[in-house]
């Protein structure tokens, strides 16, 4: 599903990639940037946590318009302002669409990549972000002069509370939660790989939730496949041929019929047999005699206790 959303075969207007400290989402972001630069006419990159170069390696940068929220988001640097590039000011009102309109865009529809939502969420309340994203998604060519085909946003799951995550999850058509990386499918193969859980909502209303494994090649192309449930080994119920333990020995362990009968008639020393009482029999143990009276719960039977051993 992740690969289909990336390549555009599955339509998704808002893709949110949730990562955490242990499972970094930047490689996946990079793949989205490269892929969107290939299949869309124009890509707007709002970069706030990393310089633009991190995501643009290998991508067609002529199609990418970057909005710089990394160098000076709070306007602390008075000088050295480059007027040609569009800067994001976290102190003023949030308007993604306004930034898009400010830069001359000849082609439409455009794709928007936001890295990441965290600086916005630190400076504005959650509903402001949601509203700004909605305005972006609902932009129409007739009224706003621009149309947005896809928005990809990064979200750090461990920096924000559940209510913010829930609000964004409600808005998103695809939510990718990155999880513990799997073992590399090709041992020693190059590239990044990991697990993720994808929650995708189609326009028809169908909701698909899948656990997937993704792999990113050194050329920043992503492939993903559904993760198969781990196969539990089926308990083998085979009837093995009964092996005779007394065969192939250098000594004889077998009993003849007479010997078996004699064995069954052996009187165990601690058993007090009423039938075969010998009153004149000297006490075997002058110190004391042991009388064993089996209780009702004791099950004493004549069978050979070794009979139920199953080799």
């Amino acid at each position: 599903m992740l690969q289909q959303v990336l390549e555009g075969t599955e339509a998704s207007s808002l893709v949110v990639i949730e990562d955490c400290v242990d499972h970094d989402g930047r490689p996946v972001f990079h793949c989205f940037c490269s892929q969107l630069a290939k299949r869309c006419e124009s890509v707007h990159l709002f970069h706030l946590e990393n310089p633009a170069g991190v995501f643009l390696e290998g991508a067609n940068i002529s199609k990418v318009q970057s909005h710089d929220g990394f160098s000076d988001p709070l306007q602390w640097e008075e000088q050295n302002r480059d007027p040609s590039s569009d800067r994001i000011d976290l102190a003023s009102a949030l308007d993604f669409l306004g930034h898009l309109k400010r830069t001359p865009v000849k082609t439409s529809p455009v794709a928007v990549v936001i890295d990441s939502l965290t600086p916005f969420l630190q400076n504005y309340p959650g509903y402001v972000i949601c509203r700004a994203l909605q305005r972006l998604l609902r932009a129409r060519l007739e009224s706003d002069g621009i149309e947005v085909s896809q928005v990809v946003a990064g979200f750090h799951g461990d920096l924000h509370d559940d209510s913010t995550a829930a609000a964004l999850r409600h808005m998103a058509t695809t939510w990718v939660q990155l999880q513990e990386g799997a073992e590399s499918p090709t041992q020693g193969g190059a590239g990044f790989h990991g697990n993720c859980e994808v929650l995708h909502r189609r326009k028809s209303g169908k909701v698909i939730r899948q656990a997937e494994v993704y792999h990113i090649s050194p050329q920043w192309s992503l492939t993903s496949r559904v993760q198969k449930a781990p196969v539990r080994p089926v308990a083998h119920v085979e009837q093995e041929a009964q092996v005779d333990p007394t065969a192939n020995l250098t000594f004889n362990l077998r009993l003849t019929d007479t010997e078996k009968e004699a064995r069954s008639r052996v009187v165990l020393p601690y058993m007090h047999h009423h039938r075969k009482k010998a009153p004149n029999k000297p006490a075997a143990n002058p110190g004391g005699q042991i009388f064993y009276q089996p209780d009702d719960v004791d099950d004493f039977d004549e069978e050979d206790p070794d009979d139920d051993l199953d080799f």
Binding site: F70, S71, Q122, D158, G191, F192, G194
Partner: protein, 268 residues
């Protein structure tokens, strides 16, 4: 000194870390020996250091530096070491009256809720940059430590904004001349939401994370703790995504020896 750690990190005094944001975190133990290590590494290599000291006075660093064979007083006189006495500034903020000299103090955020750490950033920038406003040569910004700011009441957001600007100044890319080393306390037995939030923000900025903690089995005379080194690499798919190495260490009089877990001299 610290040669084993240098080999693992890939730094030494001849080849200082450039473009790296090293985050040191310690839990239930004191990780400041790593601060002294980076300080002496850069001074020995002849590179420029700006030390923003919020936890200790200059005398303390000087005393430890002398044990490690690095004269900090001379470095400060030469201009190689720029020392920002955050400890004194914070004390002044609390002891001065509103009429006198509050305007110039870089830590005025401690008294003025509407202020940010921007004055502190401006001060760091003047210390680190040349007149043209750029870094000349490998420069290190050492912050010891960020948890002090949170304890004094600065919000995690303000500290994180300050560190963001420092990162943009020193090491925005891996090819930059500057590097940052900062320490954040992450005690496992203390539930401090602000501090944990700050640590997570810093972890996203960091390229190398050194987590110092005691042994899980308890106190030992021969092994004082362990350091887990985590490299976060997202630039180069031909290398592994995150690499983790674990080392155990023992703090000695003039050195800290690092060794692989289980190979302490007491055991072998």
């Amino acid at each position: 000194m610290f040669t084993e750690l240098n080999i693992i990190l890939g730094f030494d005094h001849l080849k200082p870390p450039k473009g790296q944001f090293v985050l040191i975190s310690d839990s239930l133990t004191d990780g400041s020996f790593l601060i002294h290590h980076f300080l002496s590494l850069y001074i020995k290599g002849g590179w420029k250091v700006c030390l923003l000291a919020l936890a200790q006075s200059f005398g303390h660093y000087n005393a430890v530096g002398q044990k490690l064979g690095v004269p900090l007083t001379q470095a400060r006189e030469k201009g190689q070491l720029r020392f920002i006495d955050g400890l004194k500034c914070s004390l002044q903020m609390y002891t001065c009256t509103p009429q006198e000299g509050q305007g110039e103090n870089p830590l005025r955020v401690l008294r003025d809720k509407k202020a940010t750490l921007r004055p502190l950033y401006d001060l760091v920038k003047t210390q680190v940059c040349s007149e043209e406003g750029v870094l000349d040569g490998p420069t290190l910004l050492l912050v010891d430590d960020l948890s002090v700011l949170v304890s004094l009441g600065v919000s995690a957001k303000d500290v994180s904004d300050f560190m963001h600007y420092c990162r943009v100044l020193m090491c925005p890319t891996q090819q930059s001349q500057g590097a940052i080393v900062s320490l954040v306390h992450k005690d496992a037995d203390v539930e401090d939401e602000e501090n944990s939030t700050l640590f997570r923000h810093m972890a996203y900025h960091g390229t190398v994370h050194l987590a110092v903690e005691g042994l899980s089995s308890g106190y030992s005379r021969d092994v004082h703790g362990q350091v887990t080194v985590t490299f976060r690499n997202v630039q180069d798919p031909s290398q592994s995504q995150t690499r983790k190495r674990r080392l155990q260490y023992k703090v000695e009089e003039r050195n800290v020896s690092f060794f692989a877990p289980g190979t302490s001299r007491a055991v072998l």
